[in-house]
Amino acid sequence: MNENKDFFVERASLFEKYHEGKMADYEKTAFEKHLSKDAEFRSDYKDYVDSRTLVESLGLSGMMKEVIEDKQEKPTKHFPLALKIISIAAVMLMGLFFLWPQSPDNEALFEKHFTTYPNLYSSRVNSQEENLNRALNFYQSGDYIMAIQEFESIDNPNDTISLYLGVSELAIGNYNQAKERLGPIKNQFLEEPRLWYIGLACLKANQPDSVLYYLNDLKGSKKYGEGAKDILTR
């Protein structure tokens, strides 16, 4: 899994460097030679450029939204003095609230602790279970959206597949869907990872009570204990 992630990062970094004109001449020559000879490399680079262009276009669309809102802003009314004083006081009180120590940095905690559940099927898949094979290949290579599509196409998915579905949803930031997938898992062998990943989904959703509920029982776990304690003590 990490090897695939590193390969992607290495390749995407190269694309980025070339796209932004940050390569030395000799690097650029080698890159362009590779582009001309390797169809897959060329296709991946095109996907990178298209993805970037898409993001930039979304950014511009957001900027247009601001322009529209500015242009159509309603004139402000003249509030009575008393209301103005109350508004200022309310803003000051809110400011004081934000100065007090805040809840744990959930996003950073999530990033620190989230790793995907390992593929336990790899050596045991029946050659006829094509959907499962494909799903696991996508999962292993980090293509979670495709993995979800393939896992969903499996008839009568068992709890292990539900776990992979939940982890995949969490990997792409869909924490509510992740909780829905993980919640019904009954297999006792999967209880610890179930609690762990639901806990992480609740962390991402800023639900501290739920995080405590799910992770508290993992403090004694060999695999998840350290992580659970770290999150619960923050």
């Binding site: 991946d44 996907d47 898409l54 950014g59 950073a108 990033e111 959206i145 930031g173």
Partner: protein, 184 residues
């Protein structure tokens, strides 16, 4: 200001914003008039214009827009096509008297680009969209991104950026595989 493609592609947000304001001033009243001057018409005109600007940007980047017409009239044509596409099943759709600057192929391309935009905004988490926009559109540093998105460290921000980019690229690749008319 008369907006030109260099303004749209500028890295200076003030220049981009000024160009967008000029596009708004030209296009918005015409779109509202075309749709029908009701409150819902104003809201829809705003949505259409936002989508159109994204499509125009992609067309400029991919050299589809050759600059034969002005950015204003080109954007207006795209707005009209997108509105027609939205309401294609309705009998009230009427022929416009707005000058049509777009060829048939470009019209299809605009719709394909819009479909891809919608797919991305549906499937890519808001977190990821915001982070990628911060990096690639607003050109924020990793340090600024780590602070804004509460990621704790520059390394965590980089990890998240790569993860989000990978998901986005998967969406784009899967969209291309599903559509045989995709030719960005």
């Amino acid at each position: 200001m008369i907006p030109k493609k260099e303004h749209i592609l500028s890295h200076d947000p003030r220049v981009q914003k000024e160009a967008l304001e000029a596009i708004y001033d030209y296009c918005f009243p015409k779109i509202v008039s075309y749709i029908g001057n009701r409150k819902e018409g104003h809201l829809e005109a705003g949505d259409i214009l936002q989508d159109a600007v994204a499509v125009v940007y992609q067309n400029i980047r991919s050299d589809t827009f050759e600059g034969k017409s002005s950015i204003n009239t080109y954007t207006l044509s795209i707005c009209k096509k997108l509105w027609l596409y939205r309401h294609r099943s309705e009998s009230r759709v009427q022929i416009s008297d707005i000058n049509d600057e777009m060829m048939v192929g470009e019209e299809k391309e605009a719709i394909v680009r819009l479909d891809l935009l919608k797919k991305v905004t549906d499937r890519l988490s808001t977190d990821c969209q915001d982070l990628l926009k911060s990096f690639y559109f607003r050109k924020s540093s990793m340090d600024e991104i780590a602070k804004k998105h509460k990621l704790g460290s520059v390394q965590a921000a980089k990890n998240k950026k790569w993860r989000c980019l990978k998901v986005l690229m998967t969406i784009v690749k899967s969209f291309k595989l599903d559509r045989d008319d995709f030719y960005l």
